[in-house]
């Protein structure tokens, strides 16, 4: 036996390493765990470098787009202004509906399933691998971030926190193959699970063949699972395919957030523990704590946030 090991030691070492790596990978796919001390140390040391490089790259990009990239700028700007005006009108109507909804809830003494505060965070890096869909943000456990907290932008759902270090956290995007977000179609309330695919597209799974889903439908989070608050925009249906057989239909979703370019700023939904929900009396117009939210626009322009107006 010893002679065999000595004669084929490199081969044996290769087998041991590959089997050991396989076991390590399998163990980590079954159950997520918090970062170890050594991982937290590496992240804490390298994250400032990532932040610096991202900042420099962002500055160069700003110079390029601000001073050199003039082609089509005027036409694009005019188109955007027109669309902005149209959206403002729709938004005003939506806010009326939201306000009426809120009043009805008060009257019936409904309690919100989740309450949360939006914690602003900057994106300092993306996942180093091409195939994985993740971000690194500059908020960590010291700021109250925990695993499985939802991450959003005013445009919609970004993903969830999967790993946390003291001052940084990693976010798994909704376009990652391992992501699964419970959602429903806003128009028809059909339920499904949003799953990431390659190419920046998502798949809406477990949608019954009998459910009415059309291209252009907006998909929102259903609140099931306790991670993503209800009502956040997840994406838009781009295609629906019903095969000749089967009980489900194949629905493709374009995410609400454009992940082809890194979002510069995101918001972590800091969940309030259930025990505290029972103690506190929810205020009718629960808005995020102003001290934790960095205004991205002048105060006179109130942007609609995923959980209500963000001022």
């Amino acid at each position: 036996m010893l002679q065999f090991l000595k004669a084929y030691q490199k081969f044996v070492l290769a087998v041991v390493l590959i089997l050991g790596s396989s076991y390590y990978w399998i163990a980590n796919t079954k159950e997520e765990s918090d970062r170890r001390f050594d991982e937290r140390l590496i992240v804490t040391v390298t994250a400032p470098i990532q932040s610096l490089v991202t900042g420099i790259a962002g500055g160069l990009k700003s110079v390029w787009y601000g001073y050199f990239y003039f082609v089509g700028l005027r036409a694009g700007n005019d188109g955007l202004r027109a669309e902005n005006d149209r959206l403002r009108g729709e938004l005003a109507a939506d806010w009326e509906t939201a306000g009426e909804n809120e009043r009805l809830r008060e009257m019936l003494a409904f309690q919100k399933e989740t309450q949360g505060t939006l914690l602003a965070a900057s994106v300092i890096a993306a996942d180093s691998a091409s195939f994985a869909k993740g971000l690194r943000i500059d908020r960590g456990s010291r700021h109250g971030v925990r695993r499985n907290m939802a991450v959003v932008t005013p445009n919609g759902v970004v993903g969830r926190v999967v790993e946390v270090a003291p001052f940084h956290a990693d976010v798994q995007l909704v376009t990652d193959g391992r992501s699964a977000v419970p959602v429903r179609v806003q128009r028809t309330r059909a339920q499904g699970v949003l799953e990431g695919l390659a190419g920046g597209i998502c798949h809406l799974k477990y949608v019954s063949r009998a459910d009415d889903v059309e291209a252009g439908d907006v998909v929102i989070t259903s609140g099931l699972g306790g991670i993503f608050p209800r009502g956040l925009v997840a994406g838009t249906v781009v295609s629906v395919e019903k095969r000749e057989f089967g009980v489900l239909q194949d629905v493709r979703i374009s995410p609400a957030v454009d992940f082809r370019r890194l979002p510069e700023e995101v918001f972590v939904v800091v969940q309030v523990p259930v025990e505290e929900l029972a103690k506190e009396t929810p205020t009718p117009t629960a808005t995020p704590a102003a001290s934790l939210v960095r205004p991205a626009q002048p105060a006179s322009v109130a942007r609609p946030g995923p959980l209500g107006p963000v001022e």
Binding site: A14, W25, A125, D127, A129, F131, K133, R178, K205
Partner: protein, 172 residues
Amino acid sequence: MRIVLHVLIALGGLLLQGTIMSQISSDVLKPDLAFLVVVYLGLHLADTEGTIGVLAIGYLADVFSVQPDGTFMLLYFGAFYLAAGASKVFYFRGTGFPAAMVFSLSLVYSAGISWMTHRAAAIPEATDPRIFSWGFLFAFSVANVLFSIPLFRLCRVVDSDRDLRSGNRATL
């Protein structure tokens, strides 16, 4: 220790991929620089030193990714030993063998991570195992080959004063 320099080159690649390259594009023509360093080690330093280097590079790649820990360690060991085994038989100078190895291993690597992502998915039975299109895999492999040229030269600068394989200096 030269292997430390190789690991630092791979670490630099991981940092670049997560910052500047992500600003340029999310997926198109974005190589895996740490993977290229691993292939280089498999082609030219397939000994204890190279093994330790691959272990360290795989560990760092797992830290910088949201994929389950062990994903890139397993993939990199697989690529390392495939490159080491193939280079013992087929390595001929001046034939572009390293480029061919990078291209073929990139396809294998892509297929591997596609399968692993499928297995690790929240709903594995609901995931299409062919997550990536052939066009994307081809573009990824071409990007790896293009970036391997300067990266392999950089790694050879680190190893400039020693013969890398059985008395023959490696060329691309």
